[in-house]
């Protein structure tokens, strides 16, 4: 599942912790799910219930305004899909976390993606990088505003001139207009990871553009003149 997204990405791929011995609860889950007959059936039913709890939790956080029946339907679909994933990947579980934590993340992912897509299903996603501006987002005192405007003008210039059209469209959609990455990946027929790589490359180009203008952005958001 690992995929490189840039020269400074994937720093964990070769340095993560080694497989660990299973804790007692995780070992019980694995043993039951690898068994046969009634014991396995019960374990699968228990796992589905666990995944449904996680999916409902995430659906409640991301789609609280959705009618309860729709939200529950979404959570059930997410739990069903997560169950298939967990069972299919059972042999990849190495005990680096508790089994339940490992299993939860599949349900949370499925429920989160489904919730974002459901919420945006009737909303248009425009990829016209002409109809946006960063400037109205500023404003916290005259000095900060002046500094912010200068920086944002430099950023706008960078977005319009330093990025490829695809990078510009993706950056504006994700970082300016707030389209969720799963919604955009769905509309563009790609993946979250591929879009994030594009976003990552665009961000790096923008930082480079600011550097060319003699500007650097510090971790706290302040701007530093570099020349």
């Amino acid at each position: 599942m690992t995929q490189r997204a840039g020269t400074d990405v994937d720093v964990a791929a070769q340095t993560g912790p080694q497989p660990a011995e299973l804790d007692e609860d995780s070992a019980r889950w694995m043993s039951s799910l690898r068994s046969t007959g009634a014991r396995r059936d019960q374990a699968v039913a228990d796992l589905h219930a666990l995944l449904l709890r996680a999916a409902r939790f995430e659906a409640g956080r991301r789609a609280g305004g959705m009618p309860a029946a729709d939200r529950d339907d979404l959570a059930m679909q997410a739990a069903d899909d997560a169950l298939m994933q967990v069972l299919g990947k059972l042999d990849t579980f190495e005990g680096r976390s508790r089994f339940t934590t490992w299993a939860y993340k599949f349900a949370i992912y499925e429920a989160g993606v489904k919730a974002r897509r459901r919420i945006w299903q009737d909303r248009e996603v425009t990829l016209e990088a002409e109809s946006w501006s960063l400037i109205p987002d500023t404003g916290s005192g005259p000095a900060a505003e002046a500094e912010g405007r200068e920086l944002l003008h430099a950023l706008e210039d960078g977005i319009r001139t330093a990025l490829t059209p695809h990078q510009r469209n993706v950056l504006v959609a994700l970082a300016v207009t707030g389209v969720p990455i799963d919604v955009l990946s769905d509309r563009l027929g790609t993946t979250r990871g591929a879009l994030y790589k594009t976003l990552h490359d665009a961000r790096r180009k923008l930082r480079g553009h600011l550097g060319d203008q003699g500007l650097a952005v510090l971790a706290d958001g302040y701007v530093k003149e570099t020349r």
Binding site: M1, A5, V11, G16, A54, T100, G193, Y196, L206
Partner: protein
């Protein structure tokens, strides 16, 4: 502390500006990262570059928040 609108805009546009993992690697490591956090262990050792990714990717950050809340609740 609430980020100013400018700081928030910069964060969204420029990202973390640090070495970070991909979304795929983030998903692979998220469970051990969260377990380490909840158990008071060194989460960054469990997932180097993952914190920076969570700062730059709202979708992965949402999943991290939910998983941590769920695990911590148990």
């Amino acid at each position: 502390m609430t980020a100013t609108p400018l700081a928030d805009t910069l964060r969204r546009l420029l990202g973390p500006g640090k070495p970070e993992v991909t979304c795929e690697t983030c998903f692979d490591l998220l469970d051990q990262y969260v377990d380490a956090e909840v158990l008071g262990q060194d989460a960054d050792a469990a997932g180097p570059g993952l914190r920076a990714h969570l700062d730059g990717c709202p979708a992965c950050a949402d999943e991290n928040d939910t998983l941590r809340a769920l695990v911590a609740f148990e």
